[in-house]
Symmetry: C2
Subunit: 191 residues, 2 copies
């Protein structure tokens, strides 16, 4: 019978991230992660397909937060306002208690080209999903993709500032600020 390990998933994630940060992602084995978490290799594979997935687990929930935000935006919102509302509502996903974890995760990703590629593909998939959700609201192309991609870029930039060393501002605040800058980009040249 499979024994239930309280908090096993979180313990494995924390142990993995610590090892990736100190030893490097390539050099860390699943056996080491399991040992550091006080669990077996078999338990590891009950939660994650491989050591890369430890870092990308929860991608569906992450994406769903944005898609739900698109669906929940006011009916009379423009495509870009809809996306801004979705990005801002998805920020609930990243409370301040998550910042230290996100910061360490990002450091590990930056150090590993294979993980960087995976992260880029995750962001591209997010933009595609948001554009599809806009399409369901009747937004046509190119407005759907332009808005979706802009929203993902704002999220990425705000997230980068949120996890920057010493940063204390909330993700929502940072997103609002960068959406304002996005709006100003298309303003006519000052004379």
């Amino acid at each position: 019978m499979v024994r239930w390990e309280p908090g096993a998933r979180e313990r494995l994630q924390e142990a993995a991230l610590d090892l990736y940060a100190t030893k490097g992602f390539e050099e860390t084995t699943v056996v080491e992660i399991a040992q550091a978490a006080g669990l077996t290799e078999r338990t590891f594979f009950r939660y994650f397909a491989d050591k890369r997935e430890v870092i990308f687990a929860g991608q569906e929930l992450f994406q769903k937060a944005f898609i739900d935000g698109v669906a929940g935006a006011p009916k009379d919102a423009t495509p870009l306002e809809t996306v801004a509302s979705a990005v801002i509502s998805a920020a609930d996903f990243f409370g301040d208690d998550r910042r230290a974890y996100s910061r360490q995760r990002s450091t590990v990703i930056s150090a590993t080209p294979e993980l960087q590629e995976r992260e880029l593909l995750k962001m591209a998939a997010l933009a595609t999903a948001i554009a599809a959700a806009l399409d369901e609201r009747g937004v046509t192309e190119p407005a759907a993709t332009l808005s979706a991609e802009s929203g993902v870029t704002v999220f990425r930039l705000a997230f980068g500032q949120w996890i920057a060393p010493g940063s204390t501002r909330s993700l929502i605040d940072l997103e609002r600020e960068i959406f304002a800058e996005l709006g100003a980009l298309s303003a006519p040249t000052k004379s």
Copy 2:
């Protein structure tokens, strides 16, 4: 002594793309490509590292066209105007004589997840390079990345329309149209 084969690169590219389109990318071998082009396997590897690179050769020149466009934009242009000017000047890269090749290339990429990922990463690298070129002109963040990413999205959308079945409009025309739609996105809601 290495014999110079006139037009070997182009013959290999054409043969490869035909085979990828008919047999599938995975199923095609380098030997088959070389044979179809009337050349040897050794000649193939003089031009391309592997069969994936046949499709992505020339990426540096492609990226350079955008970077040169950023450098050549009028000094008083806004960040977004600078990117628009770069994207439009890089369209010279894709004359109408290239449309059939681009169309076939795109069909092959769409059918092969591995190539789709490679294409996404190429676009992400392009956006990063454009943002860096803007930074050299004194554009700060987040304006540099927001403008660069918007420009790449406009390029991707215009390119998709350019190679669509039956499309006859020029890439420049399509880009201008989508940049106009981008500008309209941030317009205040109609009342």
